[in-house]
């Protein structure tokens, strides 16, 4: 790891995002965690290989994402008749049955949000491998963060299983390749999230005010010219 880049560009003073308590972040060793002394929120999580490992997981998630969306999730056969469905096919069926809003929510939470999260993370991690990363990468971090709660692959996986059990009462159902891909994706997505240290990313970004990431921990003497103008 490049140890010239300090993960905290400050004096180490920060305010807890959950309770706004001002505190000095102690030196957190690699693999260590720091919690807010008042509310217990995790303030720093120094993960080892926090760029390379999530990058590898993101690259692995890409082809799995394609298979999960392209291959049938499950098939059904009753007295010689066959049927199968994909994720998008499920959303489409809801749409043509008059449930347009539900179809859009399913499409967003099951397809668009996970895909966006993977793509944004990939761009962010790739640009973080060669600091200083351009400042627009900050927007990507923000978007990955925004879209993450809406990526519901693990919820969908459980939903598929429940649907399988319900339909198994009526007909013979077989899991498809898509379902296995969803199962793998369900493990990869949280793995990306927990192996990534956002502070490490921020430390490698060019600041919105044009400043390059600090190689030595210089305190952002809170002067007015450092805050101020929109990007």
């Amino acid at each position: 790891m490049d140890d010239r880049i300090d993960p905290t560009p400050d004096t180490g003073i920060l305010a807890c995002p959950d309770c706004d308590l001002l505190q000095v972040l102690p030196e957190v060793p690699p693999g260590g965690k720091a919690r807010c002394s008042r509310c217990g929120r995790t303030l720093a999580n120094r993960i080892r290989n926090s760029i390379e490992r999530p990058l590898a997981l993101t690259l692995a998630a890409l082809p799995v994402l394609v298979v999960a969306n392209a291959a049938p999730l499950m098939g059904l056969s009753v007295v010689g008749r066959q049927a199968s469905t994909t994720i998008i096919g499920g959303a489409y069926q809801m749409w043509i049955e008059g449930q347009e809003l539900t179809a859009l929510i399913v499409l967003f939470c099951a397809v668009l949000a996970p895909a966006a999260y993977i793509l944004f993370s990939l761009v962010v991690l790739l640009s973080a491998t060669r600091p200083p990363a351009p400042r627009w990468v900050g927007d990507m971090v923000r978007w990955a963060d925004r879209v993450q709660p809406w990526s519901m692959v693990e919820v969908m996986m459980l939903g598929i299983l429940v649907a399988l059990v319900k339909i198994a009462e009526l007909a013979k159902v077989e899991p498809g390749i898509g379902m296995y891909a969803v199962g793998i994706l369900m493990l990869l997505l949280p793995a990306i999230q927990v192996s990534l240290d956002p502070d490490e990313i921020w430390a490698r970004l060019t600041w919105a005010d044009g400043e390059l990431p600090s190689t030595t921990p210089d305190a952002p003497t809170p002067e007015t010219e450092r805050t101020g103008s929109p990007p």
Partner: protein, 207 residues
């Protein structure tokens, strides 16, 4: 710990919601933009209480038709049977898979209701200026944030059931209007959790 508690806002420092950088704002009314990530700085999430209340009330209204209206209609050889969410739970239970029935019951009935009650309680206690059990209330908020997504379970179950069971004229399953309301409850409560500012829980103590 409690005697020396100084919040960022009280010290005149604002912490960026996106990247966590602490900086001195341009002015106290208009904090300006984060020097590092360029996001607009806010002391607290804007109009947090009002927005969250509005979303919670909207979700509570949708919760009623979500549970009363059918989510699925199964047509077998001309006769149609409608199922509500509770009906689906009962179906799973009677067909022998009680663990799944329990999961669906928790995710679809108890979690959305629990979220509405929890958010309502957090809003009430913040408005009353409560300083009691702040740590527990913050923990409750984090739980609401984490658990909320699991309520979408039934929407996925219904979607894939509908998509797969299309064997006209033998048997077909159609979605009912309840699904839409149910999905709306989940989306509205998830947005409500993101508009609530947990720092408000602690502000009464610091002042």
């Amino acid at each position: 710990m409690t005697t020396a508690a100084l919040s960022g806002a009280r010290a005149g420092l604002v912490s960026c919601e996106t990247c966590g950088l602490l900086s001195r704002p341009v002015g106290s009314a208009e904090p300006g933009y984060c020097p590092r990530c360029g996001k607009r700085l806010e002391w607290r999430r804007p109009r947090s209480i009002q927005t969250t209340w509005a979303l919670v009330v909207a979700a509570a209204i949708c919760y009623v038709p979500a549970n009363l209206l059918p989510v699925l209609g199964t047509t077998t050889l001309g006769s149609t049977e409608y199922d509500t969410i509770m009906g689906g739970v009962v179906f799973l239970y009677t067909s022998g898979s009680w663990p799944l029935a329990l999961i669906v019951l928790i995710a679809s009935v108890m979690v959305p209701l629990g979220k509405l009650v929890a958010l309502g309680y957090l809003l009430f206690s913040v408005q009353r200026g409560s300083v009691k059990s702040n740590r527990e209330r913050t923990r409750l908020y984090r739980m609401v944030e984490i658990i909320g997504r699991w309520s979408m379970l039934d929407v996925f179950v219904d979607t894939f059931t509908v998509a797969l069971v299309q064997l006209q004229p033998l048997m077909s399953v159609r979605p009912g209007a309840g699904v839409m309301f149910f999905a709306a409850v989940v989306v509205l409560t998830m947005i409500a959790a993101s508009t609530f500012d947990p720092r408000l829980i602690w502000d009464a103590e610091t002042e």
